[in-house]
C-alpha cells in the first residue's frame, strides 16, 4: 500500500480529532443520518439475514477458488476485446497505466472514485506526468483540499458544506456559500470540460462477474459513467477479491451493498461494463483495459484465519456504526482504509509492524460484525491480529515489553488461589497506606492507572472482597 507511517500515533491523532468541534459536528450529523437511512432500507428487506448469509457463502466460496474465477473473468473480458493486466504490486499497476499514457501520448485523465486507486497511490504516481482530475464530487473536494478520503463511501465526510464552500471559493474562485446545488453546479462546470477533453478514464470496480466478464460500478452522480465512456481509453482497476462467479448473484450483492452503504434502495446509476466499443458500435472507448491488482491480497488469501477480510464489499457500514470511528473520523487512522475494516485490512496489507496500533483501536463491541452485509467477524480478526502483534513484539523485543511483563505477572497471580488472595490482601493494604482513599497520588503518575485517571476516577477496592464476606457468612467452605 502507498503508506508512510505517520510520525503521529493513532492516539495523538485521535486526541486532535476529539478536540476538533467542527469535525465532531460533521461526523455526528452525517453518520447518524446515514445509519438512519440504512436502518429504514434494511428493514424493508424481509430476508436480510438470509441474503447476508448467502452473500458471505458466495464470497468465501469464491475466495477459496479465486484463481479459477479470475481466469474465467480474464477469458470473458478478453473475448469481448478487452485486455487484462495482472499487477502483483501497486507499483506494477501504476507503472502499467503510466506507460500506457506515455505510449498513447495522453495528457489528461479523469478518474472515477476508487479506494483501490487510493491504496496504490495512483494519483501521486500519475500527477507528475499527467493532469489527473477526480470526478466524484466527494473525491474532487478532497483532491482540491489536498487531502485523502476519510470514509470508504463518503470521502469528504469530514467537511461541512460551509467548509466545502470556502474551499471552492479559494480554489475555484466561485462564490457558492453553503448551498449544495451551487457547490454541485460549480464542480459540474469544471468537470464537464474535463470529461470532454480527457484522453483516459480510470474507474474502480465493485464487482467483476466471472462468467460474463461484466464489470459492475455503482454510483449516484453519473461521473463514473462519463469517465468510462467519454475518453478514448478506459482503464478499470480492480482488487482481485472483487470477483463474483455469476451474474445471477449480482442482485443480491447490489441489494446488500447499496442499502448498507447509503440506505438507498438503488443507486442512481448501476453501470454494467462489457468492455470498450464493439465492432459496429458508435460510442464508448476504443480500448478497454482491466488491471487486476493483488498488492498483498494473495498473502491474505493464503491465511486461513484472516482470509475473510477479503470478503469486504466496501460499503462503509462498519465505519458508520463504529463508536470509535464516530468519535475520531477516518483521518485519525492515518491509513487508506479506516474504521473497523481498516483496522483489520491495513496491518495485513502493510505488515503488522506498519500498523501495530490499528487492531487495538477498538473496544471489541461487535457492532461492526453485526452490521456487516457479508458478516465478516471483525472482532475475531482483530483479536487474531492482536495476538500476532504481541507475539511478534515479544520475539523482536524491540522496546521494553512492559505490557507483556504485566500480563505475565498477572497470569502468574491469577493462576493460583493463594497468589490471587495474597495479592488481593496486599492491594488493600497498599490502598489504605496511600492516603487511605483511592490509590492517591501514585495512581496519577504510574501507567496504566494514570491513563485511566486522566478522565475518570479510579474505583475503590471494596473494603472486603466477596470471598471474604462469603466466608464470614459461614458458608464459604475452605
Amino acid at each position: 500500500m502507498n503508506w508512510k507511517r505517520s510520525p503521529k500515533t493513532l492516539r495523538d491523532q485521535s486526541r486532535t480529532a476529539l478536540q476538533d468541534s467542527q469535525l465532531q459536528h460533521n461526523l455526528q450529523h452525517t453518520l447518524s443520518r446515514t445509519l438512519h437511512s440504512r436502518q429504514l432500507a434494511v428493514s424493508e428487506v424481509q430476508n436480510w439475514e438470509e441474503l447476508r448469509h448467502y452473500a458471505r457463502t458466495v464470497k468465501l466460496h469464491t475466495l477459496s477458488h479465486l484463481a479459477r474465477y479470475l481466469e474465467q473473468l480474464e477469458a470473458a473480458v478478453q473475448q469481448r476485446g478487452g485486455q487484462v493486466i495482472w499487477a502483483e504490486s501497486a507499483r506494477q499497476a501504476t507503472d502499467f497505466i503510466l506507460d500506457l499514457a506515455h505510449r498513447r501520448d495522453f495528457r489528461s485523465v479523469v478518474k472515477g472514485k476508487s479506494m483501490l486507486g487510493e491504496e496504490i497511490g495512483l494519483n501521486a504516481a500519475l500527477e507528475r506526468w499527467l493532469e489527473v482530475v477526480e470526478t466524484d464530487l466527494g473525491e474532487y473536494i478532497v483532491q482540491l483540499a489536498g487531502q485523502q478520503p476519510s470514509h470508504l463511501v463518503a470521502p469528504a465526510l469530514h467537511l461541512s458544506r460551509g467548509q466545502i464552500g470556502e474551499l471552492f471559493e479559494r480554489k475555484l474562485d466561485v462564490s457558492v456559500g453553503e448551498d449544495v446545488e451551487r457547490i454541485t453546479a460549480a464542480a459540474r462546470q469544471v468537470l464537464r470540460r474535463k470529461f470532454l477533453s480527457a484522453h483516459l478514464g480510470i474507474t474502480g470496480v465493485n464487482f467483476g462477474v466471472a462468467e460474463t466478464g461484466t464489470l459492475v460500478v455503482v454510483e449516484n452522480e453519473g461521473n463514473i459513467r462519463l469517465s468510462l465512456s467519454a475518453p478514448r481509453v478506459h482503464v478499470a482497476i480492480m482488487g482481485i477479491e472483487k470477483v463474483i462467479p455469476r451474474l445471477a448473484d449480482l442482485p443480491v450483492f447490489l441489494k446488500l451493498l447499496i442499502r448498507s452503504a447509503t440506505g438507498q434502495r438503488m443507486t442512481s446509476y448501476v453501470n454494467l461494463v462489457q468492455g470498450g466499443r464493439g465492432p459496429g458500435e458508435r460510442d464508448g472507448p476504443s480500448e478497454f483495459f482491466l488491471v487486476l491488482v493483488d498488492n498483498g491480497r494473495s498473502r491474505i488469501l493464503a491465511d486461513a484465519h484472516l482470509r475473510e477480510t477479503l470478503a469486504c464489499i466496501r460499503c462503509g457500514a462498519c465505519q458508520n456504526i463504529c463508536p470509535v470511528f464516530q468519535s475520531i473520523g477516518g483521518h485519525a487512522y492515518g491509513s487508506t482504509y479506516q474504521g473497523p475494516i481498516g483496522s483489520i485490512l491495513t496491518p495485513q496489507l502493510v505488515g503488522l509492524q506498519g500498523a501495530p496500533e490499528h487492531p487495538f483501536a477498538s473496544s471489541l463491541c461487535g457492532a461492526c460484525r453485526d452490521i456487516c452485509p457479508v458478516g465478516i467477524r471483525i472482532p475475531d480478526l482483530l483479536l487474531e491480529l492482536r495476538h500476532r502483534i504481541q507475539r511478534e513484539k515479544g520475539a523482536r523485543a524491540a522496546r521494553l515489553p512492559v505490557e507483556r511483563w504485566a500480563f505475565q505477572i498477572w497470569s502468574w497471580l491469577m493462576s493460583s488461589r493463594q497468589r490471587y488472595e495474597l495479592f488481593s490482601r496486599w492491594s488493600r493494604r497498599l490502598a489504605r497506606w496511600t492516603a487511605g482513599d483511592r490509590l492517591g497520588r501514585l495512581s496519577r503518575v504510574i501507567p496504566p492507572l494514570s491513563r485511566w485517571n486522566r478522565e475518570r476516577r479510579l474505583p475503590e477496592l471494596a473494603p472486603k472482597s466477596f470471598r471474604e464476606l462469603h466466608r464470614a457468612s459461614g458458608e464459604g467452605g475452605s
Binding site: 470509535v324 483501536a361 507483556r404 485511566w452 486522566r454 474505583p459 471494596a462 472482597s465 462469603h470 464459604g476
Partner: protein, 240 residues
C-alpha cells in the same frame, strides 16, 4: 438444584455486593449455591489484549476448578460469560483434553439473566423498586451471547419499577478492557456519550448486566462531577 457461582474477579474485588445479591436471588429461587474459592478470573483481560498464552494459563486454572463440575456455572457478567462460552475453547488445541474441558464448561456456563429466564423459566424474583430505570445493553451480553430481552423481562417484573429505554441502548460504553487505557480519550468520549443518553432518558438509575460497564460509567461521571446511580441487575433483582 445446585449451581456453581463464578463471581468474576471484578465483582470479587470491587463489587462484592453484586456477588452477595446474586447468591441471594438464586437462593430465593430455591437453588443451592456453591462458591468454589479456588476461582480467580475468566482470563479475558489477557485474551482481549492479544496475550493468548497468558490467557491460556489462567484459562487452565479455571478449568482445573470447573472442569469436573457437573452443575450449571452461573456468572453475573455478560462479558465474562461470553469469554467462557465463546472464546475459551479457542485457546486450546482441538482434540486436546483442555479443549474438551473448555467446551464442556462453555456448555454449562450461564449468564445470570439468561440462566433465570431461559434455564429456570423465572419471570420474577419478587423484587420491589419503585423507581424509573434505564437499561444499558452491554456489548458481549447482547452481541456475543445474543441476549436482549431476558434482562428487560426481569426488570419489568420488578414491582413498582418503570423501565424507560435510552437512545442507542446497545452502543458501547467505551470501556473495552485495556482499550480504556490504550486509547483513554476515545474511550472516555464514548462513555460520555453514553452518560448523555442515560441522562436524556430521564431515568434515575442505569441498570446493566456487567459491572465493568457500570464501573466505567461511574468513574467518568465522578470525574465529571455528574450524579449517576448505577445498579447491577443482580442488585436490582435482590431488592425483595
Amino acid at each position: 438444584m445446585r449451581v456453581s457461582l463464578f463471581v468474576t474477579c471484578l465483582v470479587d474485588q470491587l463489587f462484592p455486593q453484586v456477588g452477595l445479591d446474586t447468591v441471594k436471588v438464586l437462593r430465593k429461587l430455591g437453588l443451592q449455591v456453591d462458591f468454589d474459592p479456588r476461582q480467580t478470573c475468566c482470563s479475558q483481560p489477557a485474551f482481549n489484549s492479544g496475550f493468548q498464552s497468558e490467557a491460556a494459563r489462567v484459562g487452565r486454572s479455571f478449568l482445573e476448578v470447573y472442569g469436573g463440575c457437573e452443575d450449571p456455572i452461573v456468572v453475573p457478567s455478560g462479558s465474562c460469560a461470553a469469554m467462557l462460552k465463546v472464546s475459551l475453547p479457542h485457546l486450546f488445541e482441538p482434540g486436546s483434553e483442555w479443549h474438551r474441558l473448555a467446551r464442556q464448561v462453555a456448555d454449562r456456563t450461564w449468564e445470570l439473566s439468561s440462566f433465570l429466564v431461559d434455564c429456570l423459566g423465572v419471570d420474577s424474583t419478587g423484587a420491589v423498586f419503585p423507581e424509573k430505570v434505564t437499561y444499558h445493553d452491554s456489548c458481549h451480553l447482547l452481541r456475543e451471547l445474543g441476549h436482549r430481552d431476558q434482562a428487560r423481562r426481569l426488570i419489568r417484573s420488578v414491582q413498582g419499577i418503570q423501565l424507560v429505554e435510552m437512545e442507542q441502548s446497545d452502543r458501547c460504553c467505551g470501556f473495552g478492557g485495556t482499550f480504556s487505557v490504550k486509547y483513554p480519550e476515545i474511550s472516555a468520549a464514548m462513555g460520555r456519550e453514553k452518560l448523555d443518553r442515560i441522562r436524556e432518558s430521564g431515568a434515575g438509575w442505569v441498570v446493566a448486566g456487567d459491572s465493568s460497564c457500570l464501573l466505567h460509567l461511574h468513574s467518568l461521571s465522578e470525574a465529571a462531577g455528574v450524579a449517576l446511580r448505577t445498579l447491577h441487575l443482580a442488585e436490582l433483582l435482590a431488592r425483595f
